[in-house]
């Protein structure tokens, strides 16, 4: 009789499924090997490298102005901020003073980048959890920022607008007007986002208390950005080590203490308001002046090691440059926020249901090319 009892799959041993590399909720080519007990997640093992391009190795054979264009392709939603990280690193090494005009334009552009990144996060996060309307609303508004980028930078997503010593070209005459129009529009539209998703009962039930990350774990795993701040880790580089024009604007660092998916989401929603405040403080105060400092035709950094960090939409991006005095860097290391944030996925999604893994992965807002580099 006992022999007749057939084994139920997943009952006595773990049931392993592959999520990805082609899965809509991984937002790219991330493969998660998930061990399940029934539908409870027991272990998540990310397999990465599908879009590994060897950016760090490529950097060793090209010059500093050329590196800018590779950094666009890491976290493509924070392209402008990635550019800025390399530029600030090079400028710090060469001890160049950057005029206020450049600093302010960079800051405004960074904050626009942050808003459009969070808009896309909101759009896809809603879509992952079944609210397809969010996707259309989010992309509709993001388009307005991309149009501003296109007018000034030429590129829409991969802007490559920064260069060591300043900007590639001056802002478009319409820039200030259009940014102000956008802020006016978006201040009215952002509450709609909350009406649509934040207050939704199903959404709250699916994100509250799901994937809780404690403050100790956030620090020891090095989780930065809105994901870390949702756990109470005060890690905003804009506050702690202000670069560009962040030292002259007033804004709040958004922190929560709960650290669940809902608060990671909320941190990003609140950051959009702060970003709009920052832009409004600066947009009317762009001084006249050159848009770029005159640099030597061949940029060579003095021998040494330089570390520059900036706050991208997803956390702290560190650029560690080792120079041997040549026109090419000897070694470049990008401490990319997504690579580090991925490391906590296994810890926080254990013992939740597999459907919650989608919510947790979405709330970490991972960008796969930034993980793989």
């Amino acid at each position: 009789m006992e022999e007749a009892v057939k084994e139920i799959i997943g009952e006595s041993q773990d049931y392993i499924i592959n999520m990805g590399p082609q899965h809509p909720s991984t937002h790219g080519v991330l493969r998660l090997v998930v061990s399940l007990k029934g539908e409870i997640v027991k272990n998540v093992e990310p397999h990465i490298g599908y879009v590994h391009r060897g950016i760090e190795k490529m950097c060793e054979s090209i010059t500093y102005p050329q590196i800018i264009h590779l950094t666009d392709r890491m976290d493509y939603l924070s392209a402008h901020i990635n550019n800025e990280a390399v530029c600030l690193g090079v400028e710090k090494a060469l001890e160049i003073d950057i005029p206020d005009r450049i600093k302010i334009i960079r800051t405004v552009m960074s904050e626009l980048t942050r808003i459009q990144s969070h808009q896309l996060f909101w759009a896809t996060f809603g879509m992952d959890l079944g609210g397809l309307t969010c996707f259309f609303y989010g992309l509709r508004d993001r388009e307005k920022i991309l149009d501003i980028f296109e007018e000034t930078c030429g590129g829409r997503m991969l802007v490559s607008y920064n260069c060591p010593g300043g900007l590639m070209y001056d802002i478009h005459p319409n820039f200030q007007k259009r940014v102000k129009e956008f802020i006016k529009y978006f201040r009215k539209t952002l509450p709609e986002y909350d009406q649509l998703l934040t207050g939704n009962v199903i959404f709250r039930e699916r994100t509250r208390n799901i994937g809780r990350l404690t403050l100790e774990d956030a620090i020891s795993y090095g989780i930065t950005g809105p994901s870390g701040r949702a756990s109470g880790f005060s890690c905003d580089v804009r506050k702690h080590e202000p670069y560009s024009a962040y030292d002259r604007v007033k804004f709040n660092e958004i922190t929560f203490s709960d650290g669940d998916s809902y608060h990671r989401y909320l941190a990003r929603m609140k950051e959009m308001w702060e970003s709009m405040d920052i832009i409004e403080q600066l947009i009317d105060n762009i001084p006249e002046g050159p848009y770029s400092v005159k640099m030597k035709p061949v940029i060579k950094l003095p021998e040494g090691e330089y570390y520059q960090r900036v706050e991208t939409a997803r956390g702290e991006l560190g650029v560690f440059i080792i120079s041997d005095g040549n026109k090419n860097p000897y070694r470049v290391k990008f401490r990319s926020p997504n690579f580090v944030n991925l490391s906590v996925l296994n810890l926080i999604s254990r013992d939740f249901k597999i459907a919650d893994l989608v919510a947790i992965g979405g709330s970490l807002d991972l960008i796969i090319p930034d993980i793989d580099r």
Partner: protein
């Protein structure tokens, strides 16, 4: 203010020297830098984390570097409570079988970074929970080494 920062740096320098007599500590341009023997690194790192005066709880960057003659690892540490930063470095004279002690037990953030370094530079880590290739297939070499040759994909400009 600048005086306070230099004071801080001097204190840190003394502190690391007291932990490890073989350490070469210098007040670098940006951060205090300490070059440690590979064998002492784990014990020093443990003290840096646990000692309330140092309290380096945030490992924010971990990079492997091929310096040509030797391989090296650079640890960037910060204290979220006290706000100071230190850079630890270690070097390996052997290229083929460089082994470091894993610091995963001190900072879990190191787990992925160490896997990346193993994958791209071929430095092994003792006591690492899961040391496997990360980005590349096992047939690939160690591309971040300076002597890496790939005739197909790397075009060397002459």
């Amino acid at each position: 203010m600048p005086d306070e920062i230099t004071m801080e740096k001097a204190q840190l320098t003394e502190f690391v020297k007291s932990l490890c007599s073989d350490a070469e500590v210098s007040e670098g341009k940006q951060f205090v830098e300490a070059v440690l023997p590979a064998d002492d690194l784990h014990s020093v790192a443990e003290r840096l984390k646990s000692d309330p005066e140092a309290a380096f709880d945030f490992l924010f960057c971990l990079s492997g570097v091929d310096y040509g003659k030797y391989l090296g690892i650079v640890y960037h540490l910060r204290s979220t409570l006290l706000g100071h930063t230190i850079v630890l470095k270690t070097r390996f004279n052997v290229r083929d079988n460089a082994v470091a002690d894993s610091v995963c037990d001190i900072w879990p953030a190191a787990e992925y970074h160490e896997r990346e370094i193993f994958d791209l530079l071929g430095i092994k880590f003792r006591n690492h929970p899961d040391l496997r290739r990360f980005f590349l297939p096992s047939s690939a070499g160690f591309p971040l080494r300076k002597d890496f040759v790939d005739d197909e994909n790397i075009v060397v400009k002459k």
